[in-house]
């Protein structure tokens, strides 16, 4: 474990490890990478001994800690093995970046060792396209685009991770992933830059964190439509990833 690990996240992880049926606990996301900022989410993974204990353990996890959002994925071992084998963006993130805090009998470490951290992500653009389906026509939003802008950010960010991961080029920090997309694919630069600018809307809608907004979210239909197009562009690149 590195010296940069967030002590609050570590403390939460250790408390989680003390719950019955929990075999392994890992830090994920920015706290695992050591680049968490004040107020960053705390992302944890807990592996339990059997599927029937997933709900119970999940019910005992923290959702927030002060102003910080805590997201804990609780999985049983069999499900985790399936997920890692599927090589989704989440699976590759776990393989590459999870920091083990607790691991009974080295079970998580052994499971992780069965999969290469360097094999590419298997991306599923269909699931991302479904997330944007609601915004094919923005009339129904009645001028309130906060949530559509936030969703375009989270969908575009997911597409960026997958696009890079599909080529074995792994980056799980949203800001850095979008900059890399812009640098490596000049034709995607405008879309990647547009998505990156939407982060404050996501922080407001999803976290109630107030950062300066690049433009108001009310009655700005052209910006909302451009955001949907930018997210579609990144997903389109993902669909044609192999040919790029």
């Amino acid at each position: 474990m590195t010296a940069t690990v967030d002590p609050t996240a570590l403390d939460l992880a250790e408390r989680l490890a003390n719950l019955d049926h929990v075999l392994s606990v890992c830090l994920l996301g920015s706290t695992a990478r050591g680049d968490a900022e004040p107020g960053s989410d705390i992302d944890l993974l807990a592996v339990v001994d059997a599927r029937r204990h997933v709900k119970d353990v999940r019910g005992r996890t923290f959702r927030t800690l002060g102003a910080r959002k805590v997201q804990t994925k609780v999985l049983d071992e069999a499900r985790l093995a399936e997920i890692l084998g599927g090589r989704s963006t989440f699976a590759v993130h776990v393989l590459r970046e999870a920091v083990i805090v607790h691991d009974e009998g080295h079970r998580f470490a052994r499971l992780r060792a069965q999969h290469s951290p360097d094999a590419p992500v298997r991306a599923d653009p269909t699931a991302l396209l479904r997330r944007l389906e609601l915004y094919d026509d923005l009339d129904w939003c009645q001028g309130l685009y906060l949530y559509s802008l936030a969703d375009c950010y989270s969908t575009g960010r997911a597409a960026a991770y997958a696009l890079l991961g599909q080529r074995g080029n792994f980056e799980f920090s949203a800001g850095k992933a979008l900059v890399r997309i812009a640098d490596e694919w000049p034709d995607l630069r405008p879309a990647a830059e547009r998505i990156a600018r939407l982060r404050p809307f996501f922080m407001l809608a999803d976290r109630d964190v107030h950062e300066p907004l690049p433009f108001p979210y009310r009655n700005r239909r052209p910006e909302a439509e451009a955001a949907v197009r930018a997210a579609h562009e990144l997903i389109g690149a993902l669909e044609h990833g192999a040919a790029r």
């Binding site: 994925k73 479904r130 129904w140 949530y147 809608a205």
Partner: protein
């Protein structure tokens, strides 16, 4: 500025329910995939409704939004203005509670829980449309949206019944 009397605000979720009822065979996977779309509808609809009709701006969905919606309900009750508004706000709070409870449910994480979540959301959207239709009829400035909410509630009841079979 109050909510515009434009049924387009309900078009997307009702279209989903109508779509389910038109298909001869129900593909549960396909419908579960639409769950994120329904949740996004609820967020946007709740945001519009609370801001334009109740003067409450929500963010931080669902936790912070739930607190603000609850506070609005208490304020209305204290002002003696609850009547048909309170049940509408209650169903929004219930929807936020369901989302808080199932936040980690995803097809990847727990497919069974995702299915429970999906069914609960369908039921609550139907209830939301019911309560909204009552509210809109009572306030008298949203006749077209009230009619559409009424139609939506019937479509959601049919969709939920078909999916439960």
């Amino acid at each position: 500025m109050p909510l515009a009397d434009d049924p387009a605000i309900l078009r997307r979720p009702i279209g989903f329910a109508v779509g389910v009822n038109r298909e001869e065979e129900i593909d549960p996977d396909k419908h579960r995939e639409r769950l994120p779309g329904l949740l996004r509808f609820v967020r946007t609809f709740a945001g519009e409704l609370l801001e334009k009709e109740f003067g409450t701006r929500i963010a931080g969905y669902p936790e912070a939004a739930r607190r603000k919606t609850h506070d609005t309900r208490v304020r209305l009750r204290d002002e003696g203005a609850a009547s048909v508004r309170a049940p509408l706000l209650t169903v929004l709070i219930d929807l936020m509670d369901v989302e808080i409870e199932h936040q980690e449910a995803s097809p990847e994480n727990d497919p069974e829980e995702q299915e429970d979540f999906h069914d609960a959301i369908l039921t609550f959207i139907q209830r939301l449309l019911d309560r909204f239709a009552e509210y809109a009829a009572d306030t008298d400035h949203l006749p077209n949206v009230a009619k559409e909410a009424d139609r939506g509630s019937r479509e959601f009841a049919k969709a939920a019944a078909r999916l439960a079979r």
